[in-house]
């Protein structure tokens, strides 16, 4: 039933869904091979690199680079052959679980399918070997692609002005908060507070501090939305911005959004949309129409740039007219008929005109993560407007189905032990509380997550949002089949049934992974963060 979630062909991971601690002794011997790094392999003098001929007349090294500027001892990089490198990295790759191998319902991370078409397109030399300082006339294809992506993101968000520059979601947040700050400063106001709900992603408050502003927390009401009374009490002339995710990290769409926007705008502040959860509303509801002034997109979530085990990402922002002059530069502009042949030309716009001079400036080198733009643009072109709406509808349908399926498991005992934290329906994700499970069965959310590894599933996000006791945040995405969702629900049911018999099974899990539970406390106490050579 959960075949697709097995770690295929991996000698180090032997998945036995009902593996009991008593039988752990029988695990594959390969599994116990100690991890050896590339620095522990190879032999002195071995090398994969064949240096090209110098070809030019030999010159005394001292003349090229005086000894006082020269390195005395070469860095102790690995000394390995090419086949050794391939074996090494292919080998350790098999100690990774990945989206192409199985279900990955990590909440707020939108682990949807990554089409291979995108990799092929991005690898075309016209994209991959294009130098960022190539003249605009020689990069018209790239600039047109960026302009088209800007237009598409503007339409999807309902906010007309886009900068593709930020490198990831949190970088987009920083851009957005600095834009807000510049807007207020330009009006002669020194507003220093930013409101963030207690359900916010950790990047929101971290960003606020980096931008030199101060975090003020907002409470959550009984429906999982912002507590309006708390908002009214805290919204004053010192507030620069409210940062909001909608639907929020509880999977709840804040139905009071229009009123929230009125309160925030009423005190002259801006409304910021954390786009991490945009996958719930594409083509259904737009941040701009909800009253937001600034939104960041996570191209590596809703727009399926592969996550790469922790990046690269890309975090463009779109903004309203009100704050448009402060956007980071450069953006891409389209000039009609400027090529002489009647066709439009595309160019980088550094905002040196009167309005543009208010830009907050650059946030990085060059123009942003173009390789990610190629992939996300390919995705938008593949789906079109209707397809994006279908994707969001299916994401919400899948989340609600899984939520409902879990309630049926174990004749209702899963619902009892893992109740929905807020609401009855959900958007693209939902949050369960493991509190009752912990009290009744004696296993924590962490134990459930670790036992899921033995069942071949990536666990949901755990212990977030912080206001939910023993939180479990589940985001299945639209690209999963009903069979997979059924299998996952069944696995949760089976783990709780096991726990009812013997809580130690989950408490000591996992058993079948390349390593078992790791001592994170020791790792942080005396950090070893590089190989000793």
């Amino acid at each position: 039933m959960i075949d697709e979630n097995h770690l295929h062909g991996d000698p180090g991971i032997d998945v036995h869904p009902h593996h009991h601690p008593a039988s752990a002794e029988g695990a594959s011997p390969l599994q116990r091979d100690p991890a050896r790094t590339i620095f522990q392999k190879g032999a002195p003098g071995r090398s994969a690199f064949q240096c090209p001929e110098t070809e030019v007349p030999a010159v005394d090294l001292e003349r090229l680079l005086p000894a006082r500027l020269r390195r005395e001892q070469p860095p102790r990089l690995p000394e390995v052959s090419e086949p050794e490198i391939v074996r090494h990295y292919v080998g350790i790759s098999k100690r990774n679980f990945d989206l192409d191998s199985g279900f990955y319902p990590l909440g707020s991370c939108t682990m949807k399918h990554n089409p291979r078409l995108h990799e092929r397109a991005a690898a075309l030399p016209g994209h991959a070997r294009l130098h960022p300082l190539q003249d605009g006339a020689s990069a018209q294809g790239a600039l047109e692609l960026m302009w088209n992506l800007q237009q598409a993101l503007a339409e999807i968000s309902g906010l007309p002005h886009v900068s593709l520059q930020p490198s990831a979601g949190s970088h987009g947040e920083l851009a957005g908060v600095l834009v807000t700050r510049a807007y207020h400063e330009d009006r002669g106001e020194q507003r220093h507070k930013v409101l963030t709900p207690d359900t916010a992603h950790g990047t929101n408050p971290a960003t606020v501090t980096m931008a030199g502003l101060e975090v003020v927390k907002l409470a959550t009401d009984e429906h999982g939305g912002i507590d309006l009374d708390d908002l009214r009490a805290k919204a004053d002339e010192d507030v620069a911005c409210l940062m909001l995710t909608n639907p929020n990290t509880l999977g709840v769409f804040d139905a009071n959004i229009v009123e929230i926007a009125e309160i925030v705008h009423g005190v002259g502040a801006t409304l910021y949309y954390d786009g991490a959860n945009l996958n719930a509303v594409m083509g259904l509801s737009r941040p701009g129409d909800m009253g937001f002034d600034i939104v960041h997109f996570n191209l590596h979530k809703s727009f399926t740039q592969p996550h790469g085990g922790g990046g690269p990402g890309s975090g463009p922002i779109a903004v309203s007219e009100r704050v448009a002059p402060y956007l980071p530069v450069p953006t891409v502009a389209r000039r009609e008929g400027s090529r002489g042949d009647g066709l439009p030309a595309f160019e980088l716009d550094f905002g040196e005109g009167a309005a543009g001079s208010k830009s907050i400036g650059r946030l990085r080198g060059f123009h942003g993560n173009y390789g990610c733009f190629v992939r996300s643009y390919a995705y938008i072109r593949s789906l079109g407007g209707d397809g994006l709406r279908d994707a969001s509808e299916a994401a919400v349908l899948n989340a609600n189905y899984l939520r409902a399926r879990l309630r049926q498991e174990g004749a209702g005992s899963v619902a009892e032990h893992l109740p929905l934290a807020y609401g009855d329906l959900c958007m693209h994700e939902f949050v369960l509380s493991g509190g009752p499970m912990k009290r009744a069965l004696g296993i924590k959310t962490l134990d459930l997550a670790k036992r899921l590894l033995d069942y071949g599933f990536h666990p949901p996000t755990v212990y977030f949002p912080l206001l939910v006791d023993e939180a479990l945040m589940v985001e299945p995405t639209e690209t999963e089949t009903r069979e997979t969702l059924d299998a996952f629900a069944h696995a949760i049911g089976a783990i709780l049934a096991e726990a009812a018999e013997d809580p130690a099974i989950a408490a000591d899990a996992p058993y079948t992974t390349p390593v078992r539970r790791l001592d994170e406390v020791a790792a942080a106490k005396s950090p070893v963060i590089r190989e000793a050579l």
Partner: protein, 472 residues
């Protein structure tokens, strides 16, 4: 229609029944207020087949002139180094390409071990004991180093060398406004012997003028003009000028030069940051790549971003985890040492695979090759009529020329001849002193024959421009 979803009509009916709603419409009507529902289709081009999308992307690519299409001497922050095939093969593996950040270490040992190996390689390269698992890219890594300095000493002044890349300076200024820090720029030296590198006296004076308020002192190695700085002298001068309140000395380094250039650690640098693209990453029109970030041990708990650490599991087996997480945004929130969540793990993998491929000997051999070919190119080009060296400092892979002709026009003539001769310095930096400047980069992909062709094209272009500029 989305071709990546799998819900049949039968699925839909069964799923709605399980949920207990009559239609998809109801699912949304009960959650999103009517006032904020989009009442029309998105105004985007219709979805297309995979084949059609590929053709569209191929046509766009064909309208770009890449380093595949012309002889490319462009540098200025990103370089056309050779990327070995095994980097493509390994970064395309599903197991590395498609996981999220390793939140569940038991099933993420591959990615975590890659981070640990990457940290080791960067630590070796920079001569500094601790490295994080990557930041976004070069210029923002410099800005992250300034934040580390602020958290470390609480001061608000950043002294920088004008030898930093203009994008780095612009990025730093954007961030510094948020940090509440101000940036003081030290010019390059004006004497003939020191032209092209940081004015060491002005550097020390600018730090001393801060009267103990200088938080960080930042320079680039090699600098924007390709010149090799005396890193030890700059780091030493910064420490002496700061005295008891010495600034955090930050060096923005080009990692591919570190087989031949002294490592920042042995020069007395506290934090080394840099653009990782030369290490096995594509040009990609400027990104994604990765930013490296290494430091002395005392800064470890203020480092930005992810760090992998070694530990053991309950059975005593060696394993790796994300560590020192109490620095990070998801734990520390507003008190975090940075807001980085997603960084550049896949690009850092390309970096460590590339460094393993080069190896201990290769990084030196490659560095010496770059030194030799770059020297040859500089000698050849400065011998041309109307071309002079902007500075006489040692260079590794890039150098600045001054042309006695209009740079834009000369470049246009060379490009028409199939040779992109380099970066128009003034167009990039906007600095008055960069007028007439051309920045030429020589990677190992540029052979002697290529360099000879550049000399021919540049010589001809300048001669033609000078003829054209003479009034009839």
């Amino acid at each position: 229609m989305s071709r990546y979803t799998a819900i049949t009509d039968a699925d839909l009916q069964a799923m709605l029944a399980t949920i207990g709603v009559s239609s998809l419409q109801e699912l949304f009507d009960r959650q999103i207020p009517d006032a904020v529902r989009l009442q029309r289709p998105l105004d985007l081009p219709d979805g297309q087949t995979e084949q059609a999308v590929y053709e569209h992307l191929r046509e766009l690519a064909a309208r770009n002139v890449s380093a595949e299409d012309e002889l490319c001497f462009l540098g200025g922050g990103m370089y056309d180094h050779y990327v070995p095939a095994l980097v493509d093969m390994l970064t395309e593996r599903s197991e590395f390409l498609t996981p999220y950040t390793p939140y569940q270490p038991e099933i993420s040992q591959g990615g975590l071990q890659v981070m640990f190996e990457y940290q080791t390689a960067i630590s070796e390269l920079t001569g500094l004991p601790v490295s994080n698992a990557s930041t976004y890219e070069g210029p923002s890594a410099v800005a992250a180093a300034a934040y580390l300095a602020k958290l470390h000493n609480g001061r608000s002044r950043i002294v920088i060398s004008a030898g930093l890349h203009p994008h780095t300076i612009e990025t730093l200024r954007t961030y510094a406004h948020g940090y509440g820090m101000n940036v003081v720029e030290v010019p390059l030296a004006s004497t003939a012997a020191q032209a092209g590198v940081t004015d060491a006296e002005a550097w020390a004076a600018a730090i001393a003028e801060g009267e103990g308020r200088t938080s960080a002192a930042i320079f680039a190695q090699p600098n924007f003009y390709g010149a090799v700085e005396d890193a030890e002298a700059l780091a030493g001068a910064a420490k002496r000028a700061g005295g008891e309140h010495a600034p955090v000395v930050v060096c923005q380094v080009d990692p591919i030069t570190l087989g031949v250039l002294r490592d920042p650690g042995s020069c007395g640098v506290d934090v080394a940051v840099g653009e990782g693209q030369p290490l096995g990453n594509r040009l990609d029109f400027g990104g994604p790549s990765f930013g490296l970030f290494a430091a002395r041990e005392e800064y470890m708990r203020r480092m930005p971003g992810r760090i992998a650490g070694e530990t053991t599991d309950v059975d005593g087996r060696r394993g790796f985890v994300l560590t020192l997480q109490t620095r990070e945004q998801h734990i520390r929130r507003e008190k975090a040492t940075s807001n980085i969540c997603t960084a550049q793990a896949l690009n850092a993998l390309a970096g460590v695979v590339y460094l393993s491929w080069l190896g201990r000997r290769g990084i030196v051999e490659l560095g010496e090759l770059l030194l030799a070919r770059t020297h040859y190119a500089r000698e050849l080009l400065t011998a041309l009529e109307g071309v002079s060296a902007m500075h006489e400092q040692p260079v590794v892979r890039e150098f600045a020329l001054r042309l006695d002709a209009d740079v834009a026009a000369v470049r246009a003539r060379c490009i028409a001849a199939g040779v992109n001769p380099g970066v128009d310095l003034h167009a990039l930096s906007g600095r008055e002193e960069d007028r007439g400047g051309l920045l030429v980069a020589i990677t190992e992909r540029r052979t002697r024959a290529h360099i000879d062709r550049l000399a021919e094209a540049l010589g001809a272009a300048i001669a033609a421009e000078r003829r054209a500029a003479v009034p009839a």
